[in-house]
């Protein structure tokens, strides 16, 4: 029982971690590229790295925090323009080639020792150089220092944390999350307001239930505390809302039209190049924002945002369901929580002589890879995707 509680606590920590939120934001951006517009951007990590560098370097050199954010977003915007102008008129494959190499160029330039004064070369920029201004803007109830168990009332307080309390709680949590996923997949079955209300209610209920079952203790405004978590997940919600506003509009309809057949859209008098460029820029800006959140808890290290991170983003996107609003968030959570589960479980149950901690981390990636393969074969639309959208060969 203690082992299980340990594993589940580990999963919960991973689920709420700012890193997960940061990748979720980047995946929301990637979803605009790949899911809605059909742009094969293989360099989302490059956008993230640019956002992180833009913010990190400017704050490190004494500029205000807000200006740093603008620099990060501006760098991503220019990067998108540079990538888009030569490639968006060509077939999709070229964008993939150019983006993956451009992202690598950014990473290698960041590593180069010539730029140590700006990027800190391979060691990167330590978080202490830029994250203080972020913590200084924290507001009530995060001010005042000290640490905090979010939701002070938790399972320890009911019948002394007896096994049956926890088991019952876990069952209800699974039920709540399953019905949430069902609701999100059901599409038009409920009318708009009632369905959305129910979704919000279920999300809030599940979060509270999870916090009740797995109490977490972090500093209020620490390097990796509740303030950062609050900001990161608020940003995720805001990004989801922006994407919702965008894709329900005629502009979003154009994006999907371009994904289906560019020439048809061109023959209807639409400026396909401009729309693709707008999509590339917006997705890239989300990527940059994700990158900034990603580094706030750690440091701006070029190697932490390389090709692997791009592939994690794609895995999360396919897992959750491309071309859906909540798919990227759900997929990212599932990806990181699943990985944490395998890691914690193999640490708890497999003796160190077979798998030590480091090997367990690698093992978790292997299992995630196999899971992705199975997913693509048996459920190509992801968890939230619409099966009807995949029935037709394009």
């Amino acid at each position: 029982m203690d082992n299980i509680q340990l594993i589940l606590n580990g999963m919960m920590r991973e689920m709420l971690s700012p890193g997960t939120a940061a990748v979720a934001i980047a995946v929301i951006g990637l979803n605009i590229h790949f899911g809605f517009t059909g742009l094969l951007n293989m360099g989302q990590a490059g956008f993230m790295l640019l956002g992180a560098y833009g913010m990190g370097i400017s704050v490190w050199h004494g500029l205000p925090f807000a200006v740093g954010i603008l620099f990060g977003l501006g760098a991503a915007l220019i990067f998108a323009l540079i990538l888009g102008v030569p490639t968006l008129k060509l077939r999709g494959d070229y964008l993939a080639i150019v983006t993956i190499s451009a992202a690598e160029i950014i990473r290698y330039v960041g590593r180069s020792s010539l730029l140590t004064d700006f990027t800190g070369s391979a060691q990167g920029i330590p978080g202490s150089q830029y994250s203080d201004p972020f913590r200084s803007v924290a507001f009530w109830p995060f001010t005042g220092g000290g640490s905090w168990v979010l939701l002070p009332f938790n399972y320890h307080d009911v019948a002394d944390g007896a096994v049956w309390v926890r088991l019952l709680g876990w069952a209800i949590a699974i039920g709540a999350i399953a019905s949430l996923v069902y609701l999100l997949r059901s599409g038009d079955k409920f009318s708009g307001v009632a369905r959305n209300g129910l979704v919000v209610l279920l999300v809030v209920f599940s979060v509270f239930l999870l916090l009740f079952l797995f109490p977490l203790d972090y500093q209020k405004v620490g390097v990796n505390g509740w303030w950062l978590r609050f900001v990161a997940w608020t940003l995720v919600a805001v990004c989801c809302f922006i994407v919702y506003l965008l894709v329900r509009s005629p502009w979003g309809r154009l994006l999907r039209g371009i994904r289906e057949d560019e020439d048809a859209i061109r023959s209807l008098g639409k400026n396909v190049f401009a729309i693709k460029m707008q999509a590339l820029i917006i997705g890239g800006l989300f990527g940059a924002l994700g990158g900034m959140v990603y580094v706030l808890a750690s440091s701006v290290q070029p190697d932490s945002m390389g090709r692997t991170l791009t592939f994690f983003c794609y895995t999360a996107l396919l897992l959750g369901g491309a071309a859906t609003i909540f798919g990227p968030v759900l997929g990212t959570i599932m990806f990181y929580v699943g990985r944490a589960f395998i890691f914690q479980a193999s640490r708890a149950y497999v003796p160190d002589s077979i798998l030590n901690t480091q090997e367990a981390a690698f093992f978790s990636y292997i299992v995630v890879g196999v899971a992705l393969m199975l997913l693509v074969i048996f459920r190509p639309q992801g968890v939230l995707g619409d099966k009807r959208e995949l029935r037709f060969n394009v």
């Binding site: 154009l254 020439d263 048809a264 023959s267 029935r391 037709f392």
Partner: protein
């Protein structure tokens, strides 16, 4: 050229059209009194092969003009060139074409469409993973909601969206697709996709619609209704240019026919004039163009006998030739 010398609605009357067409010269590149599309010196080469080499072509406003020709005559390439999907090799070297008085030499495919010349494709381009109504609504022009910044604020485009949907419903009803409104376009049959593509093109209120083989792969009943739609478009004052292989269709609905062969414009005229032109018969129609190969009467004993004899005679002739060559 842009002023209306003829009232378009007057062209709904067959006699008026016959009188108008009777005044045209039946030569390739003939000038028309009120041409909506004028094409000059368009050449497209793929390597050494010249796919299209059209010196001059005018298309009369308000009529149905058919573009016919054997496979590989360059009809579709010609369509691609004038709609901006391809660039002529002669671009900047004398290539010039104008639509409704507006020069199109350097315009992109999308601005050609915005100018009022909308095309469909030989291989239908229905947007499969979108619903029929979404397909239709993409066709409308000047949508405020397609602007990135306005798109986030629904009130800026809601009224227009409703108007567009009403228009789309109307067109879907006319093309008998209304029941399919919320189905994915990918679930439609081939013929329905052709209808959808045509209806989508009409959403932009074009002045001229260019149909690339609209009847290919469509059953006879649907062909009838497609023909009806095309004729009613003309009667409403729209100009239609279409590529077609079925001579019965061409004869049935076209007011004027242009014939292409090996990239060139070889003949122009009314359907009957063109089909009796020896150049056209040689290039395209063949000796038996008037007989319907699907006609039961042709399957009678006597006719089969005749055909068999004809074939035998041709075979004998060929054998004799081969022998003669072998002897040489």
């Amino acid at each position: 050229m842009s002023e209306h010398t003829i009232n378009p609605s007057g062209l709904a009357d067959p006699a008026a059209r016959a009188a108008l067409v009777g005044g045209f010269e039946a030569t390739p590149g003939a000038s028309k009194p009120d041409s909506i599309l004028v094409v000059d010196n368009i050449v497209r080469q793929f390597g050494g092969m010249t796919a299209v080499d059209v010196q001059h072509l005018e298309v009369q406003r308000g009529l149905i003009t058919a573009l016919i020709g054997p496979n590989g005559a360059g009809k579709t390439t010609f369509f691609n060139l004038i709609t901006g999907f391809d660039r002529p090799t002669s671009a900047g070297k004398g290539a010039h074409w104008a639509f409704d008085g507006r020069t199109l030499d350097k315009t992109s495919a999308s601005s050609v469409a915005r100018a009022g010349m909308v095309r469909t494709f030989q291989l239908t381009k229905a947007l499969s993973r979108m619903t029929v109504i979404e397909n239709m609504m993409l066709g409308a022009q000047d949508q405020a909601g397609e602007n990135l910044f306005k798109s986030m604020f629904r009130p800026t485009w809601r009224a227009q969206e409703r108007a567009i949907e009403a228009k789309a419903d109307d067109l879907l009803g006319r093309f008998k697709l209304y029941e399919k409104k919320y189905d994915y376009a990918g679930s439609l049959s081939g013929g329905q996709r052709k209808l959808l593509e045509m209806a989508r093109a009409l959403m932009s209120d074009p002045k001229m619609i260019m149909l690339d083989e609209p009847m290919a792969g469509v059953n006879p009943a649907l062909t009838q209704s497609l023909l009806g739609h095309i004729q009613s478009l003309r009667d409403e004052g729209m100009t239609v240019l279409f590529v077609e292989h079925d001579m019965h269709v061409v004869r049935h609905i076209s007011d004027w026919v242009a014939v292409m062969a090996e990239g060139r414009l070889v003949a122009e005229g009314s359907a009957d004039t063109v089909m009796s032109d020896p150049a056209v018969i040689d290039a395209y129609l063949g000796a038996h163009h008037d007989t319907d190969l699907g006609d039961d009467a042709l399957l009678s004993e006597e006719h089969m006998q005749e055909l068999a004899e004809e074939v035998a005679a041709e075979d004998a002739e060929r054998e004799a030739e081969e022998e003669a060559e072998g002897l040489r």
